[in-house]
């Protein structure tokens, strides 16, 4: 029977939540790596038992964990992230140039075809790749070396490469997003990159429609239409129909278009989900009501999904990597909160149930659909 495995990274460890295809009874495993921040963990599409986890600590730095049995046991692998050549500098908060320095891995994106190949998005923003299951890491330096690199500067959360999207139809094409530089695309497997931020407008930067400098929070794609991208920017929900060549705003009737995650329904490429957050200075839902908003029209027209979600006195946040969908039918949608709840919907968002209520603050949620 089919099933799902929900991989949850929190500020104090990782948790693995499993259920059969009914998705109504859950087993909770964890905490794995208790006491450590787990920024992200994700499974290989080519081998669901192969998982990668980013384990980090303000005291002890970065550790990379790998599992070959679906999260039951783990092995620490390579954690040396050395920038290629002379690391150079980027702009710092005070406008001075600041040496590029590795802080942590924000996001792992395993290859679609090879379990031993995995990409790592790191702070200070750079893209690394391992082709030996995480034993060694090599920077893909073309990203930082494209002309805007020295002008990138960190957002409040650090200068992180937090989003990596692989094109399932074109192995040479991938997208990344960096706070606060923007979105970038390669068409040659990562050798060369270009900014893809045309159409973004950001108040709070000197030139609102600058080529780089935008605080992109998340980009999502449906695998059947890799040229269509959806973006939750700091403010604004955006859409591109030409692989990031241009963007148009699809915030429509959202109560606020600030937020962090965005995702796409597994079977309906025009059905997308966001979690509106009050503002950049008020990181909690408007009116104390936790609402997921769904658009069945690829943006523009949104409906509030509230059944099973707290509709009063709720002041949690949902972070950029903390929403995911499964590929069962009906599609399951999952998200975790900074209050430690992981909510699941097994009907595309129509209703929600908490799988767990009292985990540490959730940083990341990923879902594996198991045969």
């Amino acid at each position: 029977m089919s099933g799902v495995r929900v991989l949850v990274g929190t500020r104090k460890g990782a948790f693995v939540l499993t259920a059969d295809g009914k998705r109504d009874r859950w087993q909770v495993s964890g905490p794995h790596f208790p006491g450590w921040e787990i920024y992200h963990l994700k499974g290989s599409p080519a081998d669901p038992n192969r998982l990668y986890a980013s384990q980090s600590s303000g005291w002890f730095g970065q550790v990379v964990q790998r599992s070959d049995d679906g999260g039951r046991t783990w092995e620490a692998v390579g954690n040396k992230f050395e920038y290629d050549g002379d690391a150079g500098t980027h702009q710092w908060y005070d406008g001075t140039q600041h040496p590029w320095a590795f802080a942590r891995v924000w996001h792992f994106e395993p290859s679609l075809t090879d379990p031993d190949t995995v990409y790592a998005g790191v702070e200070d923003a750079a893209l690394f790749r391992s082709t030996d299951g995480g034993a060694t890491w090599q920077e893909m330096p073309g990203l930082r070396r494209q002309p805007s690199g020295p002008h990138w500067q960190p957002g409040a959360g650090g200068m992180c490469l937090h989003t990596i999207v692989l094109d399932p139809k074109d192995p040479g094409r991938m997208y990344v997003a960096i706070s606060a530089a923007g979105a970038f695309r390669t068409d040659d497997g990562g050798t060369s990159w270009r900014p893809i931020n045309r159409g973004l407008r950001s108040q709070g930067i000197p030139d609102p429609d600058a080529e780089v400098g935008h605080c992109v929070h998340r980009i999502a794609m449906h695998p059947s239409r890799p040229g269509v991208l959806f973006m939750q920017k700091h403010w604004d929900v955006m859409r591109s129909d030409d692989g990031g060549g241009s963007w148009r705003e699809v915030s429509g009737n959202l109560p606020t278009d600030f937020g962090f995650p965005i995702d796409v329904h597994a079977h309906e490429p025009e059905t997308i989900y966001v979690v509106p957050i009050t503002s950049d200075s008020l990181h909690f839902p408007p009116e104390g009501k936790l609402r997921v908003f769904r658009s069945r029209t690829g943006g523009g027209d949104w409906e509030a999904l509230t059944k099973g979600l707290p509709q009063q006195d709720c002041y949690v946040n949902v972070l950029r990597d903390a929403m995911a969908v499964d590929s069962l039918d009906p599609c399951g949608v999952y998200f975790g909160t900074t209050g430690g709840q992981v909510y699941a919907s097994r009907n595309g968002g129509d209703s929600w149930t908490p799988i767990v209520r009292d985990l540490p603050s959730v940083l990341a949620v990923e879902v594996q659909s198991l045969a």
Binding site: G35, W36, S57, G58, W59, F60, G61, Q62, V63, A76, N79, K80, F81, E82, F102
Partner: protein
């Protein structure tokens, strides 16, 4: 052998329950102890000192014989009691809440 006491999280990472002992080749210095420690427990690479710069991580402290040796040079001689195995060398995570 030089006795080393690791903080809880690094003991978990190295899968050891108690203090560990390492054999140091050449002059017994902090650098040599950490080299030996990382050779014996490769998982500790990068957790006490940065993998690339080899600098102590900011929130790591080194104590021995009731002294804070954190700011001693990496190639300074360790106390005789540590070298003799009478006292352990303490790798400490600096106190901070959260």
């Amino acid at each position: 052998m030089i006795r080393v006491v690791l903080p809880t999280h690094l003991r978990s990472l190295a899968r050891v329950d108690d203090e560990v002992a390492v054999s140091v080749e050449g002059a017994p210095t902090r650098g040599a102890v950490l080299d030996a420690l990382e050779a014996t427990y490769p998982v500790l690479r990068g957790t006490i000192r940065d993998q690339v710069t080899r600098q102590r991580r900011p929130f790591i402290r080194f104590f021995a014989c009731e002294q804070d040796l954190t700011h001693e040079p990496a190639d300074a001689a360790l106390p005789d009691a540590v070298v003799a195995g009478a006292e352990p060398y303490l790798v400490v995570g600096a106190m901070a809440g959260g």
